[in-house]
Symmetry: C2
Subunit: 189 residues, 2 copies
């Protein structure tokens, strides 16, 4: 396969994913059909099917990219630095990614295919987070590392979810409390 063709195919794939993201954001999971995605990407439905065999394949690739970007975003940070601020100030790397994951999660409650994709994505994220944490805290047992990842994941997901409604506490007051929680987690055996 020529490099130019590969590049062209990669670019088309990107355009389709971008269009799909816009459709899901604008109209939700069910209202976004293959033909709507094609029209948004300014391609024919036939062209879309050359790259993705169905809507599930588009969703799978979209989730894969979101998880890749979350894993990448994790790499340049230590866990304790930055995390209390991120939680207290409800910071996000990408609000659109968060909204799309929320959409996929709502769909997962009724759609086993999407539930399986989320399960696989979350397992990949979890494994990466454990490895990342273990590097920073080599003295922690593997078991405790997994508990730390679970609890920080709970706090991150809960914070993302609660970003939908206004924060009722000054972030300055929350930050030291989150700092204490994380210190306690990572100072354990």
């Amino acid at each position: 396969m020529s490099t130019k063709l590969e590049e062209r195919q990669k670019q088309r794939q990107d355009e389709i994913i971008t269009a799909a993201r816009r459709c899901f954001r604008a109209s939700g999971f069910h209202a976004a059909s293959m033909s709507q995605i094609a029209s948004e990407a300014k391609l024919s439905v036939g062209q879309i099917y050359r790259y993705f065999s169905n809507k599930d394949a588009i969703i799978e690739e979209m989730i894969r990219r979101i998880i890749d970007s979350r894993i990448e975003g994790m790499q340049d940070k230590t866990v304790v630095e930055g995390m209390p601020q991120a939680l207290a100030w409800r910071k996000t790397i990408n609000a659109d990614d968060d909204a799309l994951m929320l959409e996929m999660s709502a769909e997962a409650t009724r759609n086993p295919q999407v539930a399986a994709m989320l399960t696989a994505a979350e397992a990949r994220m979890f494994t990466n987070a454990c490895a990342h944490l273990k590097k920073q805290f080599p003295h922690l047992s593997d078991e405790h590392v997994r508990c730390c990842v679970e609890i920080t994941a709970v706090m991150i997901e809960g914070t993302i979810y609660r970003r939908l409604t206004p924060l009722k506490v000054p972030s300055e007051q929350l930050e030291p409390i989150y700092q204490n929680i994380l210190n306690m987690l990572f100072s354990a055996k």
Copy 2:
């Protein structure tokens, strides 16, 4: 208004909400229309409009009932008792309510009406939780009580969200860690 008529109206309202919940669970926010809800409730669309002026009014009543039930569920428990287990074992009061709230939250990212309903519902829940906590821990400052409610809400919402994918840590290991976090929260000034 006669009591019999009131009862009849209450019963009809219940039937419509039950039907709407089933529609939203089965097909998502957008796929559930007024006529689909009417058909699920075995009523005419005209009859539905006698009780609810539009789909938003049905959603508002549905959310109100979910929040009422969550507030009621909170009353019989102290916060520290039960909470670490609930988090570690990912217990829920009502999984259908959780899924419906997830559906409404996904919709709230694009729909200002639904976002406003969630904001009002969350504010009511937050105020109730603060009052409930203050009764149990009268020595805590109002400010700290609000921080505690925010952080426990983050942990509860995060746990609900993560229930969609399998837990990768034994609950027995998580429970004492959650217990420590809550002890730390509620022993502060």
